[in-house]
Amino acid sequence: MNSGIDLQGSFIQLLVDLGLPVEVARVAWLPLPMLLVLVGATLGVLVTTWLERKISAAAQQRIGPEFAGPLGMLIPIADGLKLLVKEDIIPAKADSLLFTLGPAIVVIPVFLSFLIVPFGQNLLITDLGIGVFLWISLSSIAPIGLLMAGYASNNKYSLLGGLRAAAQSISYEIPLALSVVAIVMMSNSLSTIDIVQQQSGYGILGWNVWRQPIGFLIFWIAALAECERLPFDLPEAEEELVAGYQTEYAGIKFGLFYLGSYVNLVLSSLFVSVLYLGGWNFIIPIESLASWLSISESTPWLQVLTGSLGIIMTLLKAYLLVFLAILLRWTLPRVRIDQLLDLGWKFLLPVSLVNLLLTAALKLTFPFAFGG
C-alpha cells in the first residue's frame, strides 16, 4: 500500500526550501484547505442544483434551463446572484437576532463536516481520530438552527416546520449512527481514511455494500431524511406548511438554507461513497493493475494518476447517489408525519439494531472477511 501524494508535506517542504521556518510554513498551509473546502463545497452545490434542474426536467419530459450558458450551466450562478441581491426582509414582528442567527447555525456545521471527507490517501483536511463521529455530532446541531428559525419567524407554519424538522432529524439520527457503528465495527476505526483502506485491495468486491447491504439501505434512507429530501421533506412541505421554517425568509438568508440543504445532500452522498462504496478506490485495484503492467508504484505519473483518479471516483460515486436522490424525488410521494416517525422508530431502528448484532456475529465468525 503506497501512501499516495502528500500535498501538505510537499507544500511545507517547498516553503522551507524557500527559506521560511517550519512553523510559518505550517501556518501558511492552514488557510489553503479551508478555502479549498469552501470553494469546493460551493462548486459542488452549484453542480448539484444544475443537475437537479436538468434531471427533474428530463424526468418530466421537459428541457430545463437552456439559455443561461451552454446547456443552462450558468443557471445556478444566476440563482445565487438573484438571492444575493434580493431584498433581505425581516418581518416586523419577528425576533431579528434569532431570525438572522438561524440560517448561519444550519449552514456552518455542514461546512465543518467537510473537514473529514477524504478524496485520496492524503487528500483530506484532517484525519481526526474521531472521524465519522464528528460528522454525526455536527449534524445534530442543525435542528437547533431550524428551531431557532422556526421560532423567530413568529409564524405558526414556520414554528410547526421547525418542530417537525427537529423531530425528524433527531429520530433519523439514531438509525444513521447505528449503521455507521456497524461499519466502524468492521474497520476497527472511526477515521474515514481507515474505513476506506479497509475496503481497498479487492476492487469492487471489497466495498462495504456487499458486507453491509442492510446498513447501506438504512444509511441512505436516514441520510435522505436528514437532508429533508423527498419523500421526507415534511418540514418544508409546500402543500401543508407553506414552506415550513423557510416561509418568512427571503434573499440571502433563504439562500443560506438552500445552500445548507444542498451541501448536506452532497455531503451525505460523499459519506455514502466513503462508507459503503469504497471511497476513492477504482473498480479494479489500481496497485495490482500497476504491478501486472510491471510499473513501479513510486512512478510519479502513476501517483498523479492515482490521486486524480481517486478524486474523480469519489465525486463520481457521490454524484451517482445525488442522481439517485433526484430520481427518488420524482418517484416517491411524500410520507405523512406519522408514517415518517413510524418508519424511523418502528422499522429502521430495530432493523439497524439487528444489523449491528448481525455484523458483530459475522465479525466473530468470519474475522478475515469482516475485519477481525
Partner: protein
C-alpha cells in the same frame, strides 16, 4: 512560550468568556427561549474546552448528546408549554435573590481559595490524545462494565418513564361511538383531547409574539 501555547491560551479565554456569558444569560434573561438557545452556546463552548483538554471523543459526545438531544428536548418542552403568562410577583423576591447571590459568591470564593491553595499532583505521563476512544472503550468493557450496564438499564428506564409520564391519558371514545350511531357520510367528531384546549381557556396558539412569551 511557543505558538501552539499562545493559541491555546487565547482559545481558552474566548471559550471561557463565551461559556460564562452564555451561562449568565441562561440564568438571568427574562425570555426563556433566549435562555434555551444560550444553553446551547454553553454546551458548545464546553465542548471546545474538552478539545483543549485533549478529549476529542468526549467533546463530540458532548455536542451530540447535549446540543443535539438535551437542548432540542428543552426547546421542545418550552414550545409545548408555551403560554403567555406573567408570574404573580412575589413580595420581597429581591431579598431571596440577593441572599442567593451572596451565598453563591461565597461558595465561589471558597471553591476558588481551595483550588488555588491545594498543591495538585500534576502527572507528566503521556497524553492519550487520539487513542482516547480506545482507552475509554477498554475501561467500559473491563473495570467499568457494571456501571456501563447499569447506565444502559437506567437509560431504558428513563425512556419508558418519560413516555409514560408525558403521554396523554387514553380516551375510551371507541366504545361510546358504537352506541350513538353517526349518520352516514359525516365524519364523527373527536372529543377534545385536552382540558386546557377547551374554549375559554387562555390563548396558547403557536404563533404568539416571541417578545411576549412567559418568563
Amino acid at each position: 512560550m511557543n505558538l501552539a501555547d499562545g493559541v491555546q491560551i487565547v482559545s481558552f479565554g474566548v471559550l471561557a468568556l463565551m461559556m460564562l456569558g452564555a451561562a449568565l444569560g441562561v440564568v438571568l434573561l427574562e425570555n426563556i427561549v433566549y435562555s434555551a438557545f444560550l444553553l446551547g452556546g454553553v454546551f458548545i463552548s464546553i465542548a471546545g474546552l474538552y478539545i483543549l483538554l485533549n478529549a476529542g471523543f468526549v467533546a463530540a459526545a458532548q455536542v451530540l448528546i447535549y446540543v443535539g438531544a438535551v437542548n432540542v428536548l428543552i426547546l421542545f418542552g418550552i414550545m409545548l408549554v408555551n403560554k403567555r403568562q406573567n408570574f404573580v410577583p412575589l413580595r420581597n423576591a429581591w431579598v431571596g435573590k440577593i441572599t442567593t447571590a451572596a451565598v453563591c459568591l461565597g461558595l465561589f470564593a471558597l471553591l476558588g481559595t481551595m483550588v488555588l491553595a491545594t498543591p495538585w499532583a500534576i502527572s507528566t505521563a503521556p497524553v492519550a490524545g487520539d487513542t482516547s476512544t480506545v482507552v475509554i472503550g477498554m475501561h467500559f468493557f473491563s473495570d467499568f462494565l457494571l456501571p456501563f450496564e447499569l447506565a444502559s438499564v437506567l437509560l431504558l428506564m428513563a425512556l419508558i418513564g418519560a413516555i409514560v409520564l408525558a403521554r396523554r391519558e387514553f380516551l375510551p371514545d371507541a366504545l361510546e361511538r358504537e352506541e350513538t350511531q353517526q349518520p352516514v357520510l359525516t365524519l364523527p367528531e373527536r372529543p377534545r383531547e385536552l382540558a386546557s384546549a377547551a374554549p375559554g381557556s387562555p390563548d396558547r396558539t403557536l404563533g404568539t409574539s416571541p417578545t411576549q412569551r412567559n418568563v
